[in-house]
């Protein structure tokens, strides 16, 4: 049995309590929610935080609701809740696509969207989905809250805009009409991290792509937001040629690294191929 190094444990009763614990305990404290990234790292002794602040009782952060023209997801919402949310599936099928291929039911029962985004693993799926959905993220500190664009959230592998005494509180997805979205992933085996994955959200108007988001996972130091691919799609009528052009740009603009999941050339190919497939499905869903 792999066992972690010694640590102290605190259980927060409110967001304010969690924030004050973080403030008091300093940089060697870590928040723990589902724990499906942090605990394995601790057991392998790759991470050895001195304090854990357990936020699993912060039910105030556990919700998925429509509010002020946005779909708002509390950071403590579990993967399983995202997968079971009819509202989320109807407005952003990309999240249901992604959740079906994230890890396994055991992980999805416990893991949270906030934990997934804050872990900032370059291969993490919800980050790419949020990039495609043009999500905005609410970060709270003792001094108040601030809202960050998804494109500014990740600062590199395992690094985010969330400060040491802050907490990611909410994910906001702007709701617009004539939307369609999809997520495509290649994995070596069910439950494995992506070899590469692509998420696409489109918003149609008069038969053309009024706006679009393209996000990639596992092909960069963090989730890749494909601005050039989005640019070439925006305002155009969907066609295979158009998708090819966007796919080429997605492949060109990512920066995969070779590892056991595959060489750079293959991952770059997948970035394009999966972008093309996600575009087809997203547009079909928007028009369907």
């Amino acid at each position: 049995m792999q066992v972690p190094a010694p640590f102290d444990y605190e259980r927060a009763t409110s967001v304010e309590h969690a924030l004050s614990l973080l403030e008091r305990l300093g940089p060697e404290a870590r928040l723990i929610a589902g724990g499906h990234s942090l605990l394995p790292m601790m057991k392998l002794r790759l991470a050895a935080p001195e304090h854990l602040v357990d936020i699993n009782d912060l039910h105030e952060l556990d919700y998925i609701r429509e509010e002020a023209g946005e779909l708002r997801i509390g950071a403590l919402a579990r993967h399983r809740e995202l997968l079971e949310s009819e509202l989320l599936g109807r407005r952003f099928p990309i999240f249901h696509d992604a959740e079906r291929v994230i890890a396994d039911p055991l992980v999805r029962n416990r893991g949270t969207i906030g934990g997934a985004l804050c872990q900032a693993d370059p291969s993490e799926d919800l980050s790419a989905a949020c990039a495609a959905a043009h999500a905005r993220l609410v970060i709270r500190g003792l001094g108040g809250e601030r809202v960050v664009e998804m494109a500014d959230f990740h600062r590199g592998p395992y690094e985010t805009a969330v400060g040491p005494s802050e907490i990611l509180a909410e994910i906001r997805l702007p709701l617009r009409e004539a939307a369609g979205s999809a997520y495509e992933k290649v994995e070596r085996r069910t439950g494995d991290w992506a070899v590469a994955a692509a998420g696409v959200c489109v918003w149609m108007s008069d038969g053309a792509i009024a706006d679009v988001g393209v996000g990639l996972a596992a092909v960069g130091s963090s989730a890749v937001h494909c601005a050039r691919a989005e640019e070439v799609l925006r305002g155009e009528r969907p066609s295979e040629e158009l998708f090819d052009a966007a796919a080429d740009l997605a492949a060109a603009d990512c920066s995969p690294a070779a590892d056991q999941r595959g060489p750079v050339e293959y991952k770059r190919h997948l970035a394009g191929e999966l972008t093309r497939r996600a575009l087809r499905r997203a547009v079909a869903r928007a028009l369907g």
């Binding site: 010694p6 002794r45 085996r189 999941r261 293959y266």
Partner: protein
């Protein structure tokens, strides 16, 4: 199907007797053993693949308030225990002395009050290493400038372990020289790991008053372990009790003796307290016995019309840092010389070279009988390569070359005597079940649409059930197995066997063997196994040995009891034994069936007051040691259907048809369960499993995040068929089946994927066939039809 109302009196489907405790969470595994005062051990392992140890400072760890002892190689050296013999006439460092030879090698052992403290204390041990260049690729191990790994072996100046050959080289070369068609194929059976769900571990409890060691251990061979501890550590053998309780999968991983076991025994003696040591997953994957790692070049000679004439194979075998592979002593490459497979050849030859590398030691038979898996893969891939060369359907090519039924017993060109076989009906059944012709039509239609569908066929012959003892031993212990059977006065029986289940269902199958022979309910037979104080000596469960060897012992001992019962029945019936006839469960007087005694009545008589004839002792029991006269040769025909995504290289196994012939089926449900498990493992081996290293010898697959084993999502609903060709020399005609599916399925799956890639001109891709590898194979070749 058996029900409570219909007890199973022998062979047939019957729910497993051991399952109630497993499904209720009442199994008792090594890690469930908890003794008063028990301490917990942990191993400090080398972070480097090859390095000199300059110093080890354990003082800080010893000062940890919960630490009781820290031992190093130097401490063991004083007791002459720093090196332990391997199963292959080599030695392995229990704890490293002057250098480490693989990443994960054992360097120090800590015992503490609890597992957490033992792990914490590992971080307090300071080891100073001087890194050395590592030998990672076996193809470079014999380079003149390769670093010498085994400096502990006197006079060793290279990394060569052995050369071994089988077959007739000259005769084979002669056939190749005049052959119309010769094809060659390089292929690698990569390093993989048995990865049992339960990792390895033990609880060592040395009783200083009695001078007795009790060792609960995850072992597939408790008796062999006991004898080895006696021989190596000098403990008297009768004062060693090895208990192998419920075991969560073995697959060959639990055959050997690991350093952690030895350290646990030593520290139990030193501290006077029981010591538990259980590996974590990383330790299991990175330091215990791996499997395969064969670099092979196969060549096949044939006539233009598809008659296979000769095969030759050259193998480079990576055995890691210590030669700890588990093979019968005479066979350093195991039974690899079964590589001629199921085909009638004129000549064959193989040559295997074993080398050391800076990788974990092993080379065990992972769910296979001593390198049969590598051999079956080599021949079944080569036959497909030949079919491709000749433009002949691969199923048809196999059909033309199968050994014919009248040729059995068949003496192979590498020295085996195949006991029995009837191959063609098995292959025909598999093709019919699959709808082979229709599948080929569908494949053509799909190819026209640019879809990649593949159909793979394999036909394998296994050689399982080692001995005979004159030919086969492990470290000098002959490969035979004992059994003893005691029938209690009320007719309930206890069967003691020398083999040990790790999930195979021995407690049911062996009870059914006795039930069949004595005609009593299988429920009335308790099978005792896994405890050396309670069971007769034998070599253990691996290489599909249990049914061929120990199952035979169970049948023989039951027949001995039956014969004794005849004498007692004769006394009870006041008849001559020669005048009695047997029907299932009962001896009766010839011509007067009313006059008879059941086994239960005889058992009571044997323990009662019946006047026994001269020379017949009371009681109803017997014992035996079964020494097989030959191995058994199960075989099978497998058909796999895959779909490959042309855009991503992902492989989906759509269907898998498996026709197995394992001779007599004692419990068809258990046989089918074994086949399901092995096929699932075959999917993993073919598509995803790999123990890989970087150029410095760092293992890249030290957790289940990186070492992928298949899930229910990757395996199809298996379609099983059976033919039955009983073994002529086995008492009940059974042949063993646990390993057939792992042997036969990887080539069927790979053949299917290669078949799918035919439009790209692909002839071979090495396992595992990950999406990246499949996609790479498609590049730079012909485009598939649009």
């Amino acid at each position: 199907m058996a029900t409570a109302e219909q007890p199973v009196l022998g062979y047939g489907r019957m729910k497993r007797k051991e399952d109630p405790r497993f499904v209720r969470g009442k199994g008792r595994y090594v890690d469930d053993v908890s003794l008063p005062g028990m301490l917990h051990g942990a191993v400090l392992r080398s972070p480097l693949a090859h390095a000199r140890i300059l110093s080890i400072d354990t003082s800080a760890a010893l000062q940890h308030p919960k630490v009781h002892a820290v031992i190093t190689g130097r401490d063991l050296e004083a007791q002459k225990l720093a090196w332990a013999p391997t199963l292959s006439a080599d030695v392995q460092a229990v704890l490293a002395l002057d250098k480490v030879c693989f990443q994960g090698q054992e360097v120090a052992f800590v015992v503490a009050d609890d597992h957490y403290s033992a792990r914490d204390a590992l971080e307090l041990i300071d080891v100073e290493y001087e890194p050395l260049p590592a030998v990672v690729d076996p193809r470079k191990a014999l380079d003149p400038d390769a670093p010498v790994i085994r400096e502990d072996i006197e006079g060793k100046s290279d990394n060569h372990i052995f050369d071994w050959e089988a077959g007739d080289r000259d005769a084979t070369d002669a056939v190749f020289e005049r052959a119309e068609v010769v094809v060659a194929q390089d292929m690698i059976y990569p390093r993989i790991h048995p990865a049992p769900m339960e990792t390895c571990g033990c609880v060592a409890d040395f009783d200083a008053v009695e001078g007795k060691l009790t060792l609960w251990c995850t072992t597939q061979a408790p008796h062999a372990h006991r004898t080895l501890y006696a021989l190596v550590a000098g403990l008297p053998e009768h004062k060693i009790r090895v208990i192998s309780p419920d075991i969560g999968g073995g697959f060959g991983n639990k055959v050997g003796i690991y350093p952690g076991y030895v350290c646990s025994v030593v520290t139990s003696i030193v501290t006077g307290r029981p010591v538990k040591w259980m590996e974590d997953r990383t330790e299991n994957l990175t330091s215990t016995a791996f499997a395969r790692d064969y670099v092979m070049r196969g060549e096949i000679a044939a006539t233009r019309d598809g008659k296979i004439q000769a095969v030759r194979v050259r193998v480079l075998a990576d055995h890691g840092a210590f030669n700890a592979t588990a093979q019968p002593s005479k066979y350093p490459a195991g039974f690899f010389h079964i590589f001629t497979g199921s085909y009638d050849l004129e000549a064959a030859h193989c040559r295997v070279t074993g080398v050391y590398t800076n990788k974990a030691p092993g080379g065990v038979a992972y769910r296979c009988s001593f390198r049969v898996t590598e051999a079956a893969y080599a021949i079944e891939r080569m036959v497909d390569v030949l079919a491709d060369e000749l433009g002949v359907d691969p199923a048809e090519l196999r059909m033309r070359n199968l050994i014919r039924p009248e040729q059995f017993p068949y003496r192979s060109k590498t020295g085996w005597v195949y006991d029995s076989g009837d191959y063609e009906p098995a292959l025909r059944m598999a093709l019919e079940m699959a709808g082979y012709d229709r599948l080929r039509e569908e494949q053509g239609e799909r190819r026209e649409r640019g879809e990649l569908m593949g159909i793979g066929v394999s036909f394998f012959t296994e050689t399982v059930g080692a001995g005979p003892r004159r030919d086969m031993d492990i470290v000098g212990l002959g490969m035979a197995d004992g059994a003893d059977l005691r029938v209690h006065p009320t007719g309930k029986a206890v069967l003691g066997i020398s083999v040990q289940t790790q999930g195979q269902g021995h407690e049911t199958t062996f009870a059914q063997i006795v039930a069949e022979e004595l005609g009593i309910p299988a429920e009335d037979v308790q099978v005792v196994h896994g405890d050396t104080d309670e069971t007769p000596f034998g070599l253990g469960t691996y290489g599909s040995r249990s049914t061929p060897v120990s199952g035979a012992a169970a049948a023989v001992v039951a027949r001995k009891v039956r014969e004794k019962a005849r004498l007692i029945a004769a006394a009870m019936l006041e008849a001559s034994p020669a005048d009695l006839e047997w029907e299932k469960g009962r001896w009766y007087v010839k011509g007067d069936p009313e006059q008879g005694k059941t086994i239960q009545e005889i058992a009571m008589g044997a323990h009662g007051t019946v006047e026994l004839p001269e020379g017949v002792e009371g009681g109803l029991e017997a014992q035996t040691v079964y020494n097989p006269s030959n191995l058994t040769f199960p075989f099978g025909a497998y058909v796999c259907v895959v779909d490959v995504d042309p855009g991503t290289g992902q492989v989906k196994v759509r269907r898998f048809v498996a026709v197995d012939d394992c001779g007599t089926r004692i419990n068809p449900m258990i046989v089918e369960g074994q086949i399901h498990g092995g096929l699932a493992e075959g999917v993993g081996i073919a598509l995803m499993e790999l123990i890989a290293f970087d150029e410095d010898g760092n293992c890249l697959n030290g957790s289940f995040m990186d070492y992928l084993i298949p899930t229910a999502k990757e395996v199809p609903n298996f379609e099983l068929g059976a033919t039955v060709t009983p073994s002529p020399h086995h008492p009940i005609g059974a042949k063993g089946v646990g390993e057939s599916p792992t042997v036969g399925s990887p080539p069927a799956i790979v053949n299917a994927v290669i078949d799918a890639l035919e439009p790209f001109g692909v002839r071979h891709v090495d396992m595992p066939l990950t999406p990246a590898r499949v996609w790479a194979a498609m590049q730079g070749h012909t485009e598939p039809p649009a």
